[in-house]
């Protein structure tokens, strides 16, 4: 296995990850809610009574990167990998899969694994495996 040392950002990624964990913890400690992005988006769409906190959370997620850029002075790299129809096929599959599978990287990954949920561990293994296989297929056949 080759490691891309020039791309590796251990400190920033660990610190950013710790912030993501802290955000999940805040939402649970203060409001008793699981920080799952796909579930929060779905809740916004289907008209739950408690739409407002979801809207506020989404607004925060949109503002967050701008505050990060303003305070750190750092650039945020956003190099795309897909374009055209492939991008939208991917978008549909992400929406479909997280709805059927009840969660995504934040809900099952950061929150579920932290509560030692076997259900979330199974979901994480399933989406990690299929994502790795998909990327490998794109590398060898794409």
């Amino acid at each position: 296995m080759d490691i891309a040392w020039s791309e590796f950002t251990p400190l920033a990624s660990f610190a950013g990850g710790a912030m993501i964990g802290a955000a999940a913890l805040l939402l649970m400690l203060l409001n008793g809610r699981v920080m799952g992005m796909s579930g929060i988006l779905t809740g916004l769409m289907v008209g739950h009574a408690d739409r407002l906190w979801r809207l506020a959370f989404v607004a925060g997620v949109i503002i967050g990167p701008f505050l990060f850029i303003a305070f750190s002075g750092a650039q945020v790299d956003r190099q795309p990998v897909a374009s055209g129809p492939m991008l939208y096929i991917a978008a549909f599959l992400v929406g479909l899969g997280t709805a059927v599978g009840s969660g995504c990287t934040s809900g099952h990954g950061i929150c579920g694994l932290s509560r030692l949920s076997l259900r979330s561990a199974a979901a994480v293994m399933a989406f990690m495996a299929s994502a790795v296989i998909t990327v490998a297929c794109m590398r060898f056949f794409g």
Binding site: G95, G101, S102
Partner: protein
Amino acid sequence: MIVITAALGAGIVFGAGLAFAGMLSPSKVVGFLDIFGAWDPSLGLVMAGGILVNATGHYLVMKRKKPVFEAKFDLPSSQIIDRPLLLGSVIFGIGWGLAGLCPGPVVASLLLQPVDMLPFLAVLLAGGFAGRWLRA
């Protein structure tokens, strides 16, 4: 009102953390998933940092009877590993691998890259509706 402010604050920390971690770059995400190419282990550290903080904190938070601003903890009750969970997760993984985007970074990139991300989110939500309809 305080519940809404708390949600806004948590969202800001999440969005800033995603940006700091490098999760907003699809090519970096795919670099982690690309174990047969030049592998970038960074995202493993994002997961490690996130779970370390959240798991430790969660253990302490669960010693409380209720959250600070709400009446009860709203935790998922299902513990069954069933076909929708696994099949849905596999489908999500395919989409994640193709574009390097999962829902959190899509929302966090909305105003950074609106030309791409607004239609992406619209199609993602359409997929979500299709998924809910299939499950119903």
